[in-house]
Symmetry: C2
Subunit: 223 residues, 2 copies
Amino acid sequence: MWQLYQFPLCPFSRKIRLLLAEKGEPFELVRESPWQRRDEFIDLNPAGQTPVLVEPQKGVTLIDSGAMAEYFEETIDKAPMIQGTAANRAEIRRLVAWFDDGLYRDVVAPLIEERMRKRLVSRDAPDTRVLRDAMRVANSHLDYLDYLLDHRRWLAGPALSLADLAAAAHLSVADYLGGLDWRGHKQTKDWYAVMKSRPSFRPLLGERMEVISPPAHYDKVDF
Amino acid sequence: MWQLYQFPLCPFSRKIRLLLAEKGEPFELVRESPWQRRDEFIDLNPAGQTPVLVEPQKGVTLIDSGAMAEYFEETIDKAPMIQGTAANRAEIRRLVAWFDDGLYRDVVAPLIEERMRKRLVSRDAPDTRVLRDAMRVANSHLDYLDYLLDHRRWLAGPALSLADLAAAAHLSVADYLGGLDWRGHKQTKDWYAVMKSRPSFRPLLGERMEVISPPAHYDKVDF
């Protein structure tokens, strides 16, 4: 079985957990705190980042959540998540990059740094200016999702895709860390309620990061 | 024909230029300076980044260099660059992410900021501490390439792949900006000499960014 090296608030690991669950591929979680830079983990992935997937029986190690998503898209027919024409597929991948690069860099990474890493590791106080900026940019990201959902059933088009899984993964971490204000974002809120109700999402929402509690609405489908 | 919005020292645009040239797909360059945040360009790509590819006849717009690479891999059979088993393909994509994320973030982006953007746009002096750090990390990236090439004919395995194009694109920008010291990296230097001699690479090496000159060895295959 696949072993997924991850920590509960890693958005890239969450994306892969959603993908594997949608595809019905079994996996078990291995807790890894990449900030500890454990020697055995650096040997496994010199980039030192989660997620890493290992299948000891097959002798396969997968690194980088983008490479993982393409691997399972190529090897498992069930629940295709990069579908349609080449142009449709490019649009799905554009949005995944938008979330994995932009939303992560502008919103999720600063929230993780200020509200998780500083609390768990360096024990510094969070920088309220950085948090305020991240939450302001989060709002403009939610505006962009509202705009997409005004024109489309799902984020990248008529079908559920990897873009929805990536967006939900990042937003769920931002929401856990209290970084999202859902008021005024009805389209995205309705879409996220549907994502939260999927069986693939339930295990994520039930999990807790040590010391840090999410807001009360975090795991509620009706929020 | 494809129109590629780019500027001469954009490593992601260089990767796509190499890919299109290897595949024999014609394109024309459109100069774009993303730091100017031109309204028409932001309309084209809300992320505001190069490269963007537009094919007016087909009505196709491609955004994000990863999505572009997959698109051309799917639509053009010539010169496949993501080949082999699913595990081989995952290794190619892992290395592309290594260069596009890690090498870019640690080395290429700080060099562009200090030696290009500050000179052309904000007219500040470069921060020598940042430059020294970038060049130190560049050296450890070259060590990693040496290690890969000790075990493999090309970076990701027995065949030329997108990983080679991505690495060469990033290193060429770092080299233009004087950020690489090739001494002690014979394996990578030999590989890069072969990359430089490819017809796909020659147009890149002949091009100049306004105001900024590369070191004398930059465009020489024998360097």
